[in-house]
């Protein structure tokens, strides 16, 4: 409790030091997480929206009113129709149902972002743990190498790589992984450095446990929480990046559905067909927002100051 705050008469926030046993109040991990999410309307919305997007991506052929159009078949007779009972969200310049395209567009958005973050975590985490645990010259080498990647703006680096490998969703994913993993190295390194000073790590060393086993058993399990929070927020950012790459023609290629690609196509028809640009824009906006909100909520839940 900061003293000036107390003396200036504001309410202290920290609970009394040693006066009651937190384990009495604390539910088990998952029950607590669910409790907090249920209490928080925005977090609840985020979880529902993300679930809806995931289901759309998995079950797109079942959910889309016009699966063939969602997958790319033209329907030029009905081009640029406004929303109606037949086409709930209108149609695009090739007469395809926008709703079906959006549902199919969830596939590259969700799958590429999940893959990018997962691979980035898999590369970044071990490097960060090794750098943080051993320190010294090992740390020096690994971190200078990551600095090299971090020095480039990530989207620019991704564009350069895609330009080199040729435009496709697969290459966009590779490019984004290349610019994303260093952040996890940094995150895990700093977490590891503080964990290394903890008594339970020293206790393991005093027993004679080898360094590799200490990292595996005692360090990595404790980095999961910050990684989970960070990667949740990152999924949103990666969706933004993949759709941006698609928008400038370096990601998903037509006739496959992609939110970024849809906005690119809608650009010429902004005045005639507002629905064509608004709905994919809203899909990107809401999905990125949902992942950010969920990440913030997870951070609140796992924050050691509250989750004692």
């Amino acid at each position: 409790m900061s003293l000036s705050r107390l003396f200036l008469g504001k309410r202290g926030e920290e609970p009394p030091d040693n006066d009651f046993d937190p384990s009495l109040v604390q539910r088990s991990g998952w029950a607590h997480t669910l409790y907090v999410i249920r209490r928080d309307v925005l977090a609840m919305f985020s979880v529902l929206w993300i679930a809806a997007m995931l289901i759309s991506a998995i079950a797109a052929p079942l959910l889309a009113p016009y699966p063939e159009q969602g997958a790319g078949r033209n329907n030029v007779d009905d081009r640029l129709l406004p929303p109606s009972t037949q086409y709930l969200l209108g149609t695009d310049e090739l007469g395809r149902d926008v709703l079906s395209r959006l549902i199919y567009g969830a596939r590259p958005a969700m799958s590429s972002s999940l893959v990018v973050v997962a691979v980035a975590v898999l590369i970044g985490t071990p490097l960060g743990a090794i750098a943080g645990y051993f320190g010294g010259w090992v740390d020096e080498i690994i971190m200078r190498f990551t600095d090299l990647f971090l020095a480039f703006p990530s989207l620019l680096l991704a564009m350069a790589i895609v330009a080199l490998l040729g435009p496709s969703l697969m290459n966009a994913v590779i490019a984004l992984v290349a610019s994303w993993w260093p952040w996890y190295t940094r995150l895990v390194r700093s977490t590891t450095r503080s964990l290394r000073e903890q008594y339970f790590v020293e206790a393991a060393r005093s027993i004679g446990v080898s360094d590799a086993m200490i990292i595996w058993r005692h360090i990595l399990p404790n980095t999961i929480t910050p990684i989970l929070v960070q990667s949740t927020i990152d999924i949103g950012t990666v969706i933004l990046a993949t759709t941006s790459l698609a928008f400038i023609g370096l990601g998903t290629q037509a006739p496959n559905a992609d939110w970024g690609l849809m906005i690119e196509g809608a650009r010429q028809f902004l005045r005639q067909a507002w629905w064509y640009s608004i709905f994919p824009g809203a899909a990107i906006f809401l999905t990125v927002l949902a992942f950010n909100l969920l990440g913030d909520t997870l951070r609140d839940i796992f924050d050691p100051r509250q989750y004692r």
């Binding site: 046993d21 937190p22 384990s23 604390q26 903890q198 008594y199 339970f200 020293e202 206790a203 393991a204 060393r205 005093s206 027993i207 004679g208 446990v209 080898s210 086993m213 058993r217 005692h218 399990p221 404790n222």
Partner: protein, 326 residues
């Protein structure tokens, strides 16, 4: 001495370099330990007391090689520990264990008690069928049941966790147990339970303890001998009764006088120790205690006193008490 020394520490020095020294030209160094000599006899409890920053915790870690000393030698059970590396040192760790101050943070938060307890056994390649019998027997001995095994650390109380820590340290049947403030994080009534447990275990198994604490009354209760440290130096060492009844070193005297005791009421008078402990980065010349010493003379600033006998089994590092006894 008729009994054999289990640990022999000679000329132990530990310097910690401070980061960021190269800009100012000279690297600043914390002199955490300076020329420490002591023996820990087989089967005894050696208490180590002193205020924060005196180096008692660092000494415990240096003996176990959890921190590598800068200079000096540590002999344990016939081996020169400072020379051991890698796997040889790791194997040696089975014979010397440590219990930390705060049991909640010395057990991995995401591992169950059972996982924490099997770790020393698997690490030292104990046959798997021996694991559970050993764990069960020790859990029972420290006063816990098998129902605690699948709990996580945060689900147990401080006293229960400290029992787990002790059980874990004893699983490999060590010869030396370093106890680093094992009761400081506990309430008085629980502290008494843990002290009793440690006392019983030592009598039953014939363990040797290095008992580090700032709490003189706890150290007095448990130790056969007491070493007093000040600013990286061992200033006095001797039999517990002698140290408590007839302390030689002025610092030991001041320390004994400062401890609040039930039934005493001295805060009206008491010529207490003035001032603060100087920084170990630039310790005072000569005797490190001279800046606060009530009886310091000119010689104390110039030359460094060494440990000399002041009684039958008592040694102190003070120019003036030596003079007195001669």
């Amino acid at each position: 001495m008729d009994k054999q020394a289990l640990v022999t520490v000679r000329g132990l020095v530990k310097h910690f370099p401070l980061p960021g020294g190269w800009l100012s030209g000279k690297r600043r160094i914390v002199q955490a330990l300076d020329n420490i000599n002591l023996d820990i006899v087989q089967g005894e409890v050696l208490g180590l007391v002193g205020e924060s920053g005196c180096g008692k915790t660092t000494l415990g870690r240096c003996i176990l090689q959890l921190i590598r000393p800068t200079e000096g030698s540590v002999q344990f059970d016939g081996d020169e520990l400072t020379q051991l590396r890698g796997d040889t040192l790791r194997r040696k760790r089975a014979h010397m264990q440590i219990v930390f101050q705060n049991p909640l943070v010395s057990l991995s938060p995401r591992r169950t008690i059972q996982q924490s307890l099997t770790e020393p056994l698997s690490t030292h390649h104990m046959p798997r069928e021996e694991w559970m019998p050993r764990i069960d027997a020790l859990m029972q001995r420290v006063g816990l049941g098998i129902q605690h095994l699948d709990r996580y650390p945060h689900e147990l109380s401080g006293g229960q966790l400290q029992r787990v820590s002790i059980a874990r340290a004893l699983l490999l049947e060590p010869k030396l147990l370093v106890l680093d403030e094992p009761t400081s994080a506990l309430d008085v009534s629980v502290q008494a339970q843990i002290i009793n447990l440690l006392d019983e275990l030592r009598r039953e198994i014939g363990l040797t303890y290095l008992f580090i604490s700032h709490d003189l009354s706890v150290v007095e209760h448990l130790s056969d001998r007491i070493g007093v440290m000040y600013l990286g130096k061992l200033v006095e060492i001797g039999n517990t009764e002698q140290i408590m009844k007839q302390p030689s070193h002025p610092y030991t005297k001041a320390l004994l006088q400062s401890v609040p005791r039930v039934g005493s009421r001295r805060m009206h008078e008491a010529p207490l120790l003035e001032g603060n402990v100087p920084s170990p980065i630039n310790p005072p010349s000569g005797c490190r205690f001279h800046t606060r010493c009530p009886i310091a003379e000119a010689i104390c600033q110039q030359s460094e006193p060494i440990l000399e006998a002041t009684g039958a089994a008592q040694w102190a590092a003070c120019h003036l008490t030596i003079k007195e006894t001669l």
